[in-house]
Point group: C2
Chain length 116, copies 2
Amino acid sequence: MERDASADLISSDRVSGTKVYATDGEELGSIDHLMIGKRSGRVEYSVMSFGGFLGINEKYHPIPWDALDYDTEKNGYVVNIDKSRLKDAPSIAKDERSGFNEDFGRNVYAYYGVMY
Amino acid sequence: MERDASADLISSDRVSGTKVYATDGEELGSIDHLMIGKRSGRVEYSVMSFGGFLGINEKYHPIPWDALDYDTEKNGYVVNIDKSRLKDAPSIAKDERSGFNEDFGRNVYAYYGVMY
């Protein structure tokens, strides 16, 4: 029997823009883009943007891929964290490309309880 | 000494739109999107679109991530194939989401000489 691998794939342009919810159902933001390891070809971070308006929120919240579960009812990702804790989640300024160093990575993965 | 991991990362929205060249320097097309394994979190395919105009070209060419080398002079990817061979490269209709099955995957990876 042929396995339908297409069911296991998602397009990067469908991931971007997908909403992210806390486990209590509250909307946190949406995925802005993915950070991919050049050599590994792995999604190292799903980068969430708050819903912030008026350009007030200038921070991204990078989340490990494995910390996001797709919820077909919500049509969005659920991350095992609530909004009140999110203010302490590792974040990075939107214009700061160089912040993704190893220490930051370890922080992010530890925060969401995922192996680095 | 701290390793600067940021140098090893690329944003998905920077990959999309990046041009793809053959080894002889000829422009083949550009990356349209990435197909990511939901469970693996890996880029299973970099999906190239021809430069086709007038909507004539309705096919995508999925390429394994490891078959693309970034060329800083060209500001684009180089794939080890020339344009004349590309007509035989595995392709998929743009509206055919379900075509990414295991047989197709093995074909694509074999074509570019990358382990599936």
